[in-house]
Amino acid sequence: MSSIITSRIRQRQIYQMIASGKRLDGRGLTEYRPIKVEMGIIERAEGSARVLLGKTEVIAGVKVELGEPFPDRPSEGSFTVNSEFMPLASPEFEPGPPDENAIELARVVDRGIRESHAIDLEKLCLIPGKKVYVLFIDIYALNHDGNLIDASALAALAALMNTKLPVYVAEGGEIKKTSEYMPLPIKNYPVTVTFANIGDKMVVDPWLEEEEVMSARLTVAVDKDDKICALQKGGGGALTPQQILEAVQIAREKAKELRRLVVGNLG
């Protein structure tokens, strides 16, 4: 009982501050929490990265296998994005297969990478129609303090940039692994910027308490050329066209900040 009352008071505080252009944790409406990106933290994975977004913590790993291409893309490698909300990350998360939230997150991250053509899939083909590189991008939420999507998209991009592909050589129709590695060919650097709609204001990078009071969420994936490469509205509320247009504009600016964290001068 008392926790609900507290929470309502807290909720009102969050609303009132945001209405006046501020946030409970001192940030401005379009300000991200401090972000830390570490690459190459899992030596066993071909690529990996850890992202801290405030207290939100996410780890992404890339494993590379050989496999067959999809029949409609015989000369392209392939990748899949999976996400698991580990039960250690939040009292709300349960063990078991990914729920709709984890699936949605993985599919939004996937779309950003896929639609911006971030990975040069044509360079991942070893024998057309037969053997291609297959990438598994697995994202684990380790601590959930809000905005897992942006942290995950950033971790996935960083892990891809960190990925080394084992070099194979063709030998008499067979393919052989060498001891050499080459970097994964990357063509684009998509990042996502997520907004929460709280009392008609769109705030960037919502933390956990803001997510609990937001009416709707909007994620905008932006590529290196400032193009929008994926969108996803979430949550049980609605947004006006004007809110969406403004958010997309802001997202294009914020995306540059985020991209710089993993790409540095490249971006």
Binding site: E100, N101, I103, E104, A106, R107, R111, E115, S116, A216, L218, D223, D226, K227, I228, C229, A230, L231, Q232, K233, G234, G235, G236, G237, A238, L239, T240, P241, I244, L245, V248, Q249, R252
Partner: protein, 248 residues
């Protein structure tokens, strides 16, 4: 996307002969299933979709119930034979995601607070898929909710917009969706002026996005009109049935 298909011809018309801002032919029927509390069937081009609503009804298991409002649940499901290659029967990740976004597209339209401790269950069955099924499912589900007599702030009308051969087009069919440069489904509540579903695949500049959004809203408004006509047609039909009964 190798051997690329030409999707807009020299006259600016689309592969099925439509103009860029033209919807496919739409057939809507409301109240098509006898067991469900509400239902609707929509054919839009070759896409065929059925939606049904059960509820407000008691929720099992009970501990999921909320004391201050109804729970809205939604299952978007494709028949195995609805697509070119047979879809395996188990729910795919895509179906799970779309069930979520459709539920969240309808949620702002329903007065859930009027039915505490209950559930309202929406079932969408895609019988044949030729593009736009999440939008058509949303449109049909909104009608099924209205048909079930559930009080709503507004109907929800949904329509995709996309970019093919560099042109923004309304209401993509399957080829346009697969071969085009962008696909953006939108659900809209016209009287409220609010967007409750927005997704996008592909790449768009800001200017393109701005135009695309406006085009989508125009499409939604047309569909909204058809929704209202379909609801009216049903009530007229019922009224006539009742009157026939009374006269006979």
């Amino acid at each position: 996307m190798s051997g690329k298909v030409k999707l807009i011809n020299e006259n600016g018309l689309r592969i099925d002969g439509r103009r860029p801002n033209e919807l496919r032919p739409i057939k809507i029927e409301v109240g098509v299933l006898s067991n469900a509390d509400g239902s609707a069937y929509i054919e839009q081009g070759k896409s065929k979709t059925l939606a049904a609503v059960y509820g407000p009804r008691e929720l099992h298991p009970r501990h999921l119930a909320l004391s201050d409002r109804a729970i809205l649940r939604c299952r978007y499901h494709m028949a195995t034979f609805s697509v070119e290659e047979r879809k395996p029967p188990a729910p795919t990740r895509r179906e799970i995601e779309l069930s979520k976004v459709i539920r969240e597209a309808l949620e702002p339209a329903v007065f859930l607070e009027k039915f505490p401790r209950t559930s309202i269950d929406i079932f969408i069955e895609v019988l044949q898929a030729d593009g736009g099924t999440r939008c058509i499912g949303t449109t049909a589900a909104a009608l099924a909710l209205a048909d079930a007599g559930i009080p709503m702030r507004d109907l929800v009308a949904a329509c995709a917009v996309g970019k093919v051969d560099g042109v923004l087009v309304l209401d993509l069919n399957d080829i346009e969706d697969k071969e085009g440069e962008a696909d953006m489904p939108v659900a809209y509540m016209p009287s409220l002026g609010q967007i409750s579903l927005l997704q996008m695949n592909g790449t768009l500049t800001y200017e393109e996005f701005n135009q695309a959004l406006n085009l989508a809203l125009e499409g939604c408004k047309q569909i909204y009109k058809l929704q209202k006509e379909a609801l009216k047609a049903k009530y007229v039909a019922i009224k006539e049935e009742v009157e026939t009964c009374l006269q006979s």
